[in-house]
Point group: C2
Chain length 785, copies 2
């Protein structure tokens, strides 16, 4: 049998058998890798860990892709949706040589094969899933659902690339995957590459059939056409039939992709109907068909290890030996364990090998962003806090210039769930648009085939697209409402875990950081109400490795610009920036802001009354824009009513600074912390999020028992902005009361002030219920000093 283009398909079959052999070997064998002696219990691993079920299908696709790559000279990135199939990717990268280039201790010889087998799922070895350790991968094989979003992200702005994405039929039941098919409404056939989804119907999950494998053909076909694809089917279990069919279909779809791209690049503006493949093959294909009287191949019993009692059960051992020998290893490897030269003729060469493609080690392709710098956009601040600006609106102008400066490189994008304008970043539309391939009506604005803003009402897709974009060597920002970023908590987990491992692999090159810009935050969701109020993403992020995560809370426009500029230059982090979009006092001028952000936390001398030298009576600390405003207003009230009180104002931009330096690279030594917060004076800390986080970060500090934190405590509804603060006891009046309650020896004037503040809170309650808006002295408040 041979393909249309003449490749001998028995070679593809031999390659497939070799990969299958190497996969099964990894799951089972401690020794005797080439079966040069009869298989004995001592050759078997003590703990059998790994997933066989999906593996032969992955090997089948990989082998056939190798043929296509060789024949078409096509760059292909392989995304393994069924990431459980670690053995397949390890087997294939070892076969093609890319594995040994990154891991010189695992060469393509008998010794290397033994190591390849032994290390798999073994202490000190390699994970059982496709992980950062696997060359050619940008996609962790842990949590399911994100393969296709990663594939689209990888294809953006890579016009010469085809991303072949195997989607498991288990994964296809997840929400994120079900939404990802619509990625074709964004992908531009002119400027972007292609995504080739390969839906692998092997029929089963861990213990159940899959939905898509059990609906009638017409229904599946309608679904995929409804998603906008032209499906091609490869279905069966006989390799003699399946090989020529797979080769034929691969030739067809790669031709179709080429035709679509050529037509589009010649000016055809219709949205293409991209091809995709449905591969229906047995789970655990070529594995044991029956064990202990129960069917295994083609059922869920193949999901993990089809034979579990091999060490103790001679019958199982015999089945295993027969199974392994069925691949005829002696035909595939020479006596030294090297793949035979004729086999290697199928593998592509150099960087065309899917395990060696630079697209999967994006740091190799990464170019520094050209940045406009902060100065061009910074707001002038003649006097602290007397002018207002909208932080994210100004940032939007800076991002607009980032887009302009990097237009030629095409390596920067903004992602968001329909909130880019709502978050006031809309200056970017002066130079670009939202990418959109579906229908456009005359009333539409800012929709273009090749826009650099990707908006889709799915945080999962935004996150998945951006991850794929970053891991293939580009830059980007995900802007989102703060509350709803929790939708991607678990995706963030997986990416942070990926980065932790990635950073420890010498051959993986640094990639751009994943930057979150969280706006429309908890304190300004007064109009959307309780369901839109949640500042807990910060807490979630803090559970991941300190070396990977960074959290910034710029209190005004210039600090936001400085933080954003810093984040866009950084590598291998997840940066979380929480910033407001509403008019906010400009507290710091550009130079002050840069210095303050570089320090991460500092005393605002000009705001306090402790003359900056002597010990204050109380520290008012703040992190976040709303808390900063309240602290400043409280400070002003204290100046007015208790002028003799020495108040120090400390602002924290970089939340990680609060931790000891042993806990985080940005952490502050105790002496610095004490210099800011004093070793023994009361600290009233107004914080953007849940108050206990500040305790968690500071509980080892000398003065911790004196730190009193105000923050969001899950109180809120549709109300006024200031009422949100009152409901959560973080308003200026409450902060003044906290000072009065905690600074000893203030005497009778303090009691009067306490009463006055309480009256003011009552006045607020009455006022808003009557007028529907905040007290004039709050709405019109500006820093008076």
């Amino acid at each position: 049998m041979s393909s249309n283009t003449g490749t001998d398909l028995s070679l593809v079959d031999a390659y497939w058998r070799a990969a299958n052999y190497l996969s099964a070997g990894q799951i089972y064998l401690l020794d005797n890798p080439l079966l040069t002696e009869p298989l004995a219990p001592a050759h078997i691993k003590p703990r059998l860990l790994g997933h066989w079920g999906t593996t032969p299908g992955l090997n089948f696709v990989y082998a056939h892709l190798n043929r296509v790559i060789r024949e078409h000279g096509q760059e292909v990135l392989f995304v393994t949706g069924p990431g459980h199939g670690g053995p397949a990717l390890l087997a294939n990268t070892w076969l093609e040589g890319s594995y040994s280039e990154n891991y010189p201790d695992v060469q393509r010889d008998l010794h290397g094969m033994r190591r390849l087998f032994r290390q798999f799922s073994f202490p000190g070895g390699v994970p059982s899933h496709v992980a950062p350790e696997v060359p050619g991968s940008i996609h962790e094989g842990g949590e399911l659902g994100y393969s296709l979003a990663h594939a689209f992200g990888a294809a953006f702005d890579n016009p010469d690339l085809v991303v072949a994405c195997v989607v498991g039929d288990g994964e296809a039941e997840t929400g994120p995957l079900a939404a990802s098919w619509h990625g074709n409404k964004f992908l531009d056939p002119v400027r972007d590459g292609a995504v080739l989804p390969i839906l692998h119907l092997n029929g089963y999950k861990i213990a159940n059939p899959t939905i898509l494998a059990r609906v009638p053909h017409e229904e599946l076909d309608a679904l995929l056409r409804g998603y906008g694809y032209a499906p091609h089917y490869v279905e069966g279990d006989d390799p003699e039939v399946m090989h020529p069919r797979m080769a034929e279909v691969f030739d067809e779809v790669f031709d179709e992709i080429k035709r679509i791209q050529e037509a589009a690049r010649a000016g055809n503006t219709e949205r293409p109907r991209w091809p995709m493949i449905v591969l229906r093959s047995p789970k655990g294909w070529t594995g044991p068909s029956e064990v202990d009287g129960k069917p295994v191949e083609g059922t869920w019993r193949s999901h993990q290890v089809p034979l579990s009692g091999v060490r103790d059960n001679p019958e199982h051992l015999k089945i295993l030996e027969g199974w392994l020998r069925s691949y005829r290893p002696q035909e595939l490897f020479d006596a030294e364990g090297r793949p035979k030269p004729e086999l290697l003729e199928l593998a592509p060469e150099g960087p065309l090998r899917m395990g060696a493609t630079p697209y999967a080690n994006g740091g190799l392709l990464l170019r520094d962003l050209r940045l406009p710098g902060v100065a061009a956009h910074a707001v002038e601040v003649a006097k602290h806090g007397t002018t207002n600006s909208e932080p994210t609106r100004v940032l939007g102008r800076m991002l607009r210039d980032v887009l302009t400066l990097n237009a030629e490189e095409d390596n920067f994008r903004l992602f968001g769930p329909d909130e880019t304008a709502s978050n006031r970043l809309d200056a970017v539309y002066e130079v670009t648009a939202k990418q959109w391939q579906a229908q456009v009506l005359p009333t539409d604005e800012h929709l273009e085939h090749d826009g650099r803003v990707v908006e889709v009402l799915s945080e999962h897709l935004c996150q998945g697209f951006l991850e794929g974009y970053l891991l293939t060597g580009r830059h980007g920002v995900f802007n989102c409402y703060e509350a709803f970023i929790h939708i991607v908590d678990s995706m963030f987990n997986q990416h942070a875990k990926w980065l932790k491992v990635h950073r420890r692999l010498v051959w993986r090159r640094p990639v751009a950081s994943l930057n979150y810009l969280l706006s429309s935050h908890v304190w300004r969701q007064d109009h959307n109400g309780f369901s839109h109020q949640d500042p807990g993403f910060i807490d979630h992020v803090m559970n991941k490795k300190a070396e990977v995560v960074r959290v910034y809370l710029p209190p005004d426009t210039n600090t936001l610009l400085s933080v954003a500029d810093h984040c866009l230059r950084s590598r291998d982090y997840v940066n979380v920036i929480v910033a407001g979009k509403n008019p906010t006092p400009d507290w710091l001028g550009p130079q002050e802001a840069a210095l303050h952000c570089a320090r991460g936390a500092g005393i605002w001398d000009w705001a306090g009354t402790d003359d900056g030298l002597s010990e204050p009576d109380v520290v008012l600390a703040c992190a976040g824009d709303a808390p900063t405003l309240e602290v400043m207003a409280a400070t002003a009230l204290l100046r007015e009513h208790l002028p003799e009180l020495r108040v120090r104002v400390v602002n924290v931009v970089d939340l990680m600074r609060l931790q000891p330096e042993t806990e985080h690279p940005h952490g502050m030594p105790d002496r610095e912390f004490d210099a800011l917060f004093t070793p023994d004076k009361p600290v009233i800390f107004a914080y953007h999020g849940y108050p206990w986080l500040i305790h968690r970060l500071t509980y080892r500090r000398a003065n911790h028992h004196n730190i009193h934190v105000r923050g969001y405590k899950e109180e809120g509804t549709t109300t006024t902005p200031f009422d949100m603060l009152v409901l959560n006891d973080m308003d200026r009046y409450r902060l003044v009361i906290d000072v009065v309650d905690r600074v000893p020896g203030l005497g009778v004037r303090a009691a009067g002030l306490r009463q006055r503040m309480t009256d003011q809170r009552n006045r607020h309650h009455t006022w808003i219920r009557e007028h529907g808006e905040d007290l004039p002295e709050v709405r019109e408040w500006t820093w008076p000093y």
Copy 2:
């Protein structure tokens, strides 16, 4: 115009106009509710907050459903996917009278109408979205994506109910919604009710067109047929055409539903092709068509408030007045603001009104579960810690009996993402099966049309189904791998927020708690590796209101049974149970377990060496099964090597007990805490999750500075179970070293012990790399005392 069945459709139109008028009135009017005088700026709210865009479409559907309900006598639950459309649901429930029954201060008269308008999005009033405060709702209008999953959950085991679920085309872009369409592969036409999805294509999100509104008709139709539905289309903008068309389609689909159910209930076992409706109507339908020279009706500019400058811009005010008057309020309401009697003839009566259906106030329908009690399944413990059992396997037997005992009520279900068997709960399959309507093959096991276990590889669907099931008055458990429960972090947030508000509404009756059973937890994901290891859901849960959340970490089988029994009896909480599935020593007998769980935390006298009376030298505390085992092993080592050391063992089952009683209803007073943990002795605390949580819970305690916590610190890979503990410094040897390092005055024997423990850790490292499994003394360890 009239419907097939004779209802005068001009009545439906009048009802629709009334709802539209009341909706717009809520967004704009402070006063002059009936427009009895010319509209003046003083009548307008100072802050205009609300979402008009989706509202007229919702009103249209609601009015037509009223007709169907009246004519067919059909029970209908209305789920509002576009939850922004709060004004619509408030308007309709006010019109039909169900609102005033729950809120007697808002009667159906002029005074009540003024209050209805004024309270909307107003301080002290009601939220702008569909929220728990809205009668007839089980679905929060905040985060998008869960309407259809809620609808299916509500329909399970409610054979007489039709759940009409409006799905917004924005929401339809989310992953969870895209997956939810497949709910029809589970819904049983015999035992369950029907779900009628109404996809509302109004074309726009906040600032963008929607995908489904901008693909060709054939593609949309194929997609919906591919999802397994029979779509019916109602498309247009002329009410004269739309009313009869909508009436006709509603009659058709309700007839189809009836036919399907009758056929199935007569024995037809084919999976039905359920009907659905596609309603394509303009965004902001009947609102201002143009403002400031820009098109508004039918564009994204209708999304929120179409006219924003009404108070200051006379032109806007004029447009608003014209718009409001276009509904001809004088025809709809009498001079006292009461809806005219002929209008009310459209509204159904009593509990058939969608705002009054008991299905939406599930506590009204809730029946206590019949529980088998713990005794029948508890394991006998002749001697502490000398036998092993698999906690979740035993729990599975108890859940099996719960299913049996409540078989007639049909009010208990298990949900899980394909992990019920993997989590070893498979005893339930002795009495039920997995619900499944798609194809079944001869090799399949435990698949039935009416199984009570719902397995789908989507945590979003499991959570959404269960929420819908609980809020309509039933009971259930969601079992999930611990790491991947983060997928529903944001759904948990929304449900916890819902419960917080629900608990404060007198007319909402208590519902069953949402019970999470998290197994396959972080310490036993050694085989799946780093991506499967994350204990942070507990931290996430702790950010929500203390009155709503509970976290339990039972250390063995009998404590798990006791905790589960307790949770299944509870109401209005979210209970998180983290439990192991692997063989675990049975530490406590049934009575001891019950007592220990009731206390939530306690001293294990029999395990320690402090004779239970005098002060110990050190406290070894533990929470979670793996930490408990390590603490017990460390205790045994200390007994052997430092027999004179007085060691106290404290086990914590109910994590909330660690907090002060001011922070959580389960919190412990200081004196109790000190009695357990001492006021001044070193505490070595081995904790299941991220260690800082224990600090957060205890930082106010006298002895906090002496508490040294070990837990998961993001170290892990594919390795052995004990190596996971070593990697994270929570193994028994490390705990002994911690004791040695922290208890003063132990002298030279301690130094020797320290060295021995260090040697043992080194031995472990060498051993596992050689043997691939744990040290025999670890694998075979049992409590020797």
